[in-house]
């Protein structure tokens, strides 16, 4: 029942997105613009500052993620369909998981585009340690999206949700962003500092367990007015 409900919600979000590609296109456009602007600002005569790539990659992910979260839940606000989901006899945390999976799919698609872009513009050797990079991106994105999905759902009814979402989200997810940046920077050392990268990966895994558990536990009470 839990998995079936989560997949139903995910499938429904895909069906809506396939009608317009609205959230995907705006998120991709925003992330690509972000990387392009940073490259114009920092890359001089083909030389990028050391360590800039890691920070820019994670800033683009965080900002694009905020946009994706806001747009995705805006759809549930119109027609108050989130209430209709909460009224269903399904376990309410399953609805959270369904929405989270949709956000993750969006963010992973965005990352598939911007990681090669950052690598190209900033001469970052991301792909020398692909598995480590994959672990950092996956775990970092899950941690960020887990908190973001909870907050975005919670703020659906708030009039100032667009302002409140980043105000609430960034302070809480700062540990995830820092771990992502430091872990990625460790991969870009020459040679790559794999023990340090592994440490940050372990840290991200820990944050994920904490954030996902807390979100699943808090979703139902927070969604009941």
């Amino acid at each position: 029942m839990f998995v079936r409900t989560a997949l139903l919600v995910l499938k429904k979000d895909f069906a809506i997105e396939l009608r317009s590609y609205e959230v995907l296109s705006t998120t991709l456009f925003f992330a690509v613009s972000c990387v392009a602007i940073f490259s114009f600002a920092f890359v001089r005569e083909g030389q990028a500052p050391k360590d800039a790539a890691a920070g820019i990659l994670w800033i683009a992910i965080a900002f694009a993620g905020t946009l994706a979260l806001g747009r995705t839940f805006e759809r549930e606000r119109y027609g108050e369909t989130l209430k209709a989901l909460l009224l269903a006899p399904a376990p309410r945390p399953a609805i959270y998981v369904g929405k989270l999976l949709g956000i993750l799919a969006l963010l992973f698609t965005t990352e598939a585009l911007i990681v090669p872009m950052v690598a190209f513009f900033f001469h970052a050797r991301f792909f020398d340690q692909s598995l480590y990079l994959l672990a950092l991106l996956s775990l970092g994105t899950i941690g960020y999206a887990a908190v973001g999905t909870l907050f975005a759902a919670m703020l659906v009814r708030a009039r100032t949700r667009d302002v409140l979402l980043p105000i609430l989200l960034y302070p809480v997810t700062i540990p995830v962003i820092i771990a992502g940046v430091r872990g990625t920077a460790a991969l870009l050392e020459s040679p790559a500092d794999l023990p340090i990268a592994s440490l940050w990966i372990a840290m991200l895994a820990f944050f994920d367990v904490v954030f996902v558990t807390l979100s699943l536990w808090m979703f139902e009470p927070l969604m009941t007015e």
Binding site: L8, L87, E225
Partner: protein, 233 residues
């Protein structure tokens, strides 16, 4: 849990910050009844619907559904509740059929046959594969009503269900609600428009400033009684 015969609110209050939306309301409604929750805008009707729908938790007091409470049997109770709110709980980007099939699956019902029956009930079979975005308010309202009744709920909660409907559609919805009550459902209808509720509701509960100010059988004199309560202030 067996299907409940009555829903009972006991001394229920609900505050939003310092604002008192509902204050010490006690009310019981039985199967077969169509209870009209009447009152002016901002009286607390929608909050009461939210409380009954388990979407809003009471600040104090309790609500029981035949002896069960949402804290102990939330999903089981929700399975027996159908809500038609002022916002229609439909995805405008999806077609009428996609909306109905999604909600049917969410309630564990066979998607295709349930959607077909609901589309016929909403008189929208020929528009089944059109996006809801292009529907008139009346068509959306009919579709939303069928969506809320997909799972044959015991407790049917309606918040201003006649908004945007023409006279014919109002008659069709009213007939549908009478049939539901006749078949054993508990129907609670919140409206500020007594003209539309008159002749449909079997009992009226008048709410004002969050308080229940009258609870009486509806019938001859209902309109006059309501108006005098409103004028009394």
């Amino acid at each position: 849990m067996t299907d409940f015969e009555r829903v009972e609110l006991v001394d229920v209050s609900r505050h939003f910050g310092r604002r008192r939306a509902v204050f010490r309301v006690s009310l019981a409604v039985q199967r077969g009844e169509i209870l009209g929750l009447l009152g002016p805008n901002g009286a607390g009707k929608s909050t009461l619907i939210g409380l009954l729908a388990t979407l809003v938790a009471p600040s104090s007091g309790s609500i029981s559904y035949g002896g069960s409470t949402p804290s102990t049997a939330g999903a089981t109770i929700r399975r027996r509740i159908g809500v038609l709110a002022h916002e229609l709980h439909l995805y405008p980007e999806l077609t009428a059929r996609q909306n109905l099939e999604f909600f049917a699956r969410l309630y564990g019902l066979p998607a295709t046959s349930t959607a077909d029956a609901a589309l016929a009930g909403a008189d929208l079979t020929d528009r089944a594969d059109d996006q809801v975005l292009g529907f008139s308010r009346g068509m959306r309202q009919r579709l939303a009503l069928e969506r809320s009744l997909l799972h044959h709920p015991r407790l049917v909660l309606l918040d201003e269900p006649f908004t945007g409907l023409d006279d014919r559609a109002v008659g069709l919805v009213a007939d549908r609600l009478r049939r539901l009550a006749h078949d054993g459902a508990i129907v609670v209808l919140a409206t500020h428009d007594l003209d539309l509720a008159d002749g449909l509701i079997t009992r009226m509960a008048v709410v004002r400033g969050g308080r229940l100010v009258a609870d009486a059988p509806a019938g001859q004199g209902t309109r006059q009684q309501y108006r005098s309560l409103m004028e009394r202030g």
